[in-house]
């Protein structure tokens, strides 16, 4: 099974299509502007830096003990009656989930929002096995109706405006067209509620898995997460192995960072903590709870001290909200489950660099992402590392990422070795500079995409090296005592 619905080499084509679509551009610009100002307002009264330091430290502390914490999590959950499964790949995770469903004779599942399940294309897998999977998060529901993929990790349908959503709901569900967001939401809810009552299995993601207490935390706004995890007789939580944290008290700062960074909320409407199936004296809750822990390339990241930072991510989406590239091309152009800056540093590990060819280069390294990341992931630095891996550009530090060297090309290497020949030798550089000033009238008028919208700058008549040589010589003569 392919992990991708959109072929990755189409990044350029996807970007092009988005840039040429004024509606998509407006939708993203407006949405991102809104999210940026909401985040800024939510942190306005906070000393943000110490909180980000704390968030980063919590995640690093957890990652440092990852194998141990995962075992602790497993042991505690098992003690509480939760069955824990390990999946090496996304496909394996899909099989585990399918098997659980089939063992129960399940025909339909209702899903809360889970990016990991998107990553492994769970819905398609289940449908192929004859199990209906319905998304219950409003954004995911819209994306599913439209037969699309999420364009944002927090707001899956952010690429659509109200009109488009109204149209879609009308076509697919017969809802009366309307501009009233509340009406549209209520009508979608109505359809979903019925499904909740009849679904055999609920599948959710996990925001934090607390090792110390064996608690699965789920952050959401619509109540669909609570229904997913409590109404059907069986709940399956699925998550990447990196989501584990040490202690319950670590949740508070991470949650404060997550909701504010993501949507500018001080707290979400719902915060669920799942630690066991329904107990004898409880009135509701599933009779069976499963946790599926997915590796899917994560442990390979874990082997490398620098790349490890990638795994700190708490999936808040702030990096994409603040990314000037994402803002202009939207999430679909990336062709990957996770778009934007986090996608650029994560997807090459999940898919290999061959598959994510153009992602690491599609950045100006402006650093807007790292500036807002609540756990201080040095995203530009990681992009730089991936660029280096793509061309095997560092003989002192061997490449490690799957598919490294994919961008190694003799022409590119030739360019940089000529560049080095000139710039590592001052005389050669000065000679080349002089030559450039002499040829300044002969410069080409066209330079690829640059001159499509810009003029080319003209080399100076004299380089600063030349000017300063003259100047220093003059000063010297002036200082010499006259004979």
């Amino acid at each position: 099974m392919s992990l991708q619905t959109i072929p990755l080499h189409s990044f350029d084509a996807g970007a092009q299509a988005a840039l040429n679509n004024p509606q998509v551009r407006r939708n993203f610009r407006q949405a991102m502007d809104g999210l940026m100002s909401k985040r800024a307002a939510a942190f306005a009264d906070w000393e943000l830096e110490p909180l980000r330091e704390l968030g980063a430290a919590i995640r690093l502390r957890a990652l440092a003990r990852l194998p141990e914490l995962l075992e602790q999590l497993e042991a505690n959950l098992q003690k509480q009656g939760v069955q824990v499964h390990w999946a090496q790949t996304g496909e394996e995770a899909c099989q585990i989930i399918r098997d659980i469903c089939q063992a129960r004779g399940a025909k339909s599942v209702i899903k809360g929002k889970s990016m990991v399940s998107e990553e492994m294309e769970l819905n398609h897998f289940l449908e192929a096995a004859g199990i209906e999977a319905l998304e219950s998060d409003l954004g995911e529901y819209i994306v599913q109706l439209a037969e699309e993929t999420p364009s944002h990790i927090i707001m899956p349908a952010i690429h659509k405006n109200t009109d488009e959503i109204s149209q879609l709901l009308h076509e697919k569900t017969g809802t009366e067209p309307s501009h009233d967001v509340d009406y549209l939401t209520a009508s979608a809810r109505q359809q979903l509620r019925e499904k909740f009552m009849t679904a055999d299995v609920g599948i959710s993601g996990v925001n934090f898995a607390v090792a110390e207490t064996g608690t699965l935390c789920l952050v959401e706004n619509e109540g669909n997460g609570r229904l997913t995890t409590s109404v059907p007789a069986c709940h399956i939580a699925v998550t990447g192995i990196e989501k584990v944290i040490e202690k319950l008290e670590d949740v508070t700062p991470l949650l404060a960072l997550l909701t504010r960074s993501a949507t500018g909320q001080h707290i979400t409407t719902y915060f669920n903590m799942v630690s066991a199936p329904r107990q004898a004296d409880e009135k509701d809750g599933p009779e069976a709870v499963h946790l599926v822990l997915v590796d899917s390339g994560r442990s390979a990241i874990y082997q490398d001290e620098a790349l490890l930072d990638t795994l700190r991510c708490i999936r808040c989406g702030a990096c994409m909200n603040h990314c000037p590239v994402y803002t202009r091309i939207g999430g679909h152009a990336y062709g990957t489950t996770y778009p934007g800056p986090i996608g650029k540093i994560l997807m090459p590990h999940l898919l290999g660099l061959e598959a994510t060819q153009d992602l690491p280069s599609a950045s100006t390294l402006c650093g807007a992402c790292a500036e807002v990341c609540p756990v201080k992931i040095p995203i530009p630095r990681l992009l730089q590392r991936l660029r280096k891996e793509a061309v095997d550009g560092d003989s002192l530090r061997p490449s490690r990422v799957r598919g490294h060297g994919v961008k190694r090309h003799w022409r590119e290497r030739l360019i940089w070795s000529v560049w080095r020949q000139i710039h590592a030798r001052p005389r050669a550089y000065r000679w080349a500079g002089n030559l450039l000033t002499r040829l300044r009238g002969l410069m080409p008028k066209q330079l690829g995409g640059w001159t499509r919208v810009r003029t080319l700058p003209k080399p100076a008549a004299r380089t600063l090296h030349q000017l300063m040589q003259t100047r220093d010589a003059q000063t010297k003569t002036a200082q010499e005592p006259r004979a």
């Binding site: 840039l19 550089y429 640059w450 919208v453 090296h465």
Partner: protein, 263 residues
């Protein structure tokens, strides 16, 4: 998180031109040198300097970058501060050199070099505590602070503070001032369409703010934005901040010193 000031103001600095200033905007370099000299600082210009190595480094060619960096290490030997008319190249030297050489025999020497590096406008403002007397005509100017200057060097306020010393300059602020202009070195060629969309927005924001001119400390951004405004006929030229400051200190319109033309 700004760079610690030296205990006593230095009397001598090394001027590192950066390749773009050297080859395309030497007037910005001269302006910087003259601003320093006006503060009574002796400026040394090592003829063996070339490029900071950033183009190769940001393309992933660390081996080639390292060799070029070693040539700079040799050219910039000494103890005095090294000043650069570029936030991006200053950040390369200050923050990326040590990373590039971590664990190598040169690591210590490279760190010592990095510690001496200053972005020139920051150096003028905080170390020299420059006082600017404006001699020019009234003008509306917008500052574009590059992403490296803003985020890697922490200099978001530096350019504006210098401009605000000029009595005849009305500094206007463009919308989304902190957003990248879309240059990004090879990004502007490799992902030309995205870059074009970014620079278009940036130029329009500067224009909409009512700026007659924009200034910046990074020549990459300047080539990008000014190249765009020129081609589109927006009537919004760009200038290096140092050239602009020097121009304001002297009679309006007067270019920096003509080298070789004087007795």
């Amino acid at each position: 998180m700004s760079q610690a000031l030296p205990p006593t103001p230095p009397t001598q600095v090394i001027f590192y031109a950066t390749c773009l200033v050297d080859l395309y905007f030497p007037d910005a370099g001269l302006a910087g040198i003259q601003l320093l000299e006006r503060q009574g600082i002796q400026v040394i210009f090592p003829q063996n300097q070339t490029c900071c190595g950033q183009p190769a480094y940001s393309s992933g060619f660390n081996d080639q970058a390292r060799e070029v960096v070693l040539a700079q290490l040799e050219a910039l030997a000494g103890d005095c501060p090294i000043v650069l008319p570029s936030g991006s190249c200053a950040a390369m030297m200050k923050h990326h050199y040590p990373e590039l050489f971590a664990g190598t025999p040169q690591a210590q020497a490279i760190q010592a070099l990095a510690d001496r590096v200053w972005e020139l406008s920051d150096f003028l403002l905080r170390v020299c505590q420059i006082q600017l007397q404006d001699q020019g005509q009234p003008i509306k100017v917008a500052m574009h602070t590059s992403c490296s200057a803003r985020r890697e060097m922490g200099l978001a306020e530096t350019g504006p503070q210098l401009l605000d010393q000029l009595s005849q300059v009305e500094r206007v602020e463009q919308a989304r001032a902190s957003e990248c202009c879309g240059f990004g070195g090879r990004f502007s060629l490799r992902h030309a369409d995205i870059s074009a969309a970014m620079v278009a927005d940036k130029a329009q924001a500067l224009k909409a703010a009512g700026a007659e001119r924009f200034v910046t400390t990074d020549c990459g951004c300047m080539m990008n934005i000014a190249g765009y405004t020129e081609k589109q006929g927006l009537g919004l030229p760009g200038q290096h901040l140092l050239s602009f400051l020097w121009e304001r200190l002297n009679a309006e319109g007067q270019a920096p010193e003509e080298v070789g033309g004087r007795s």
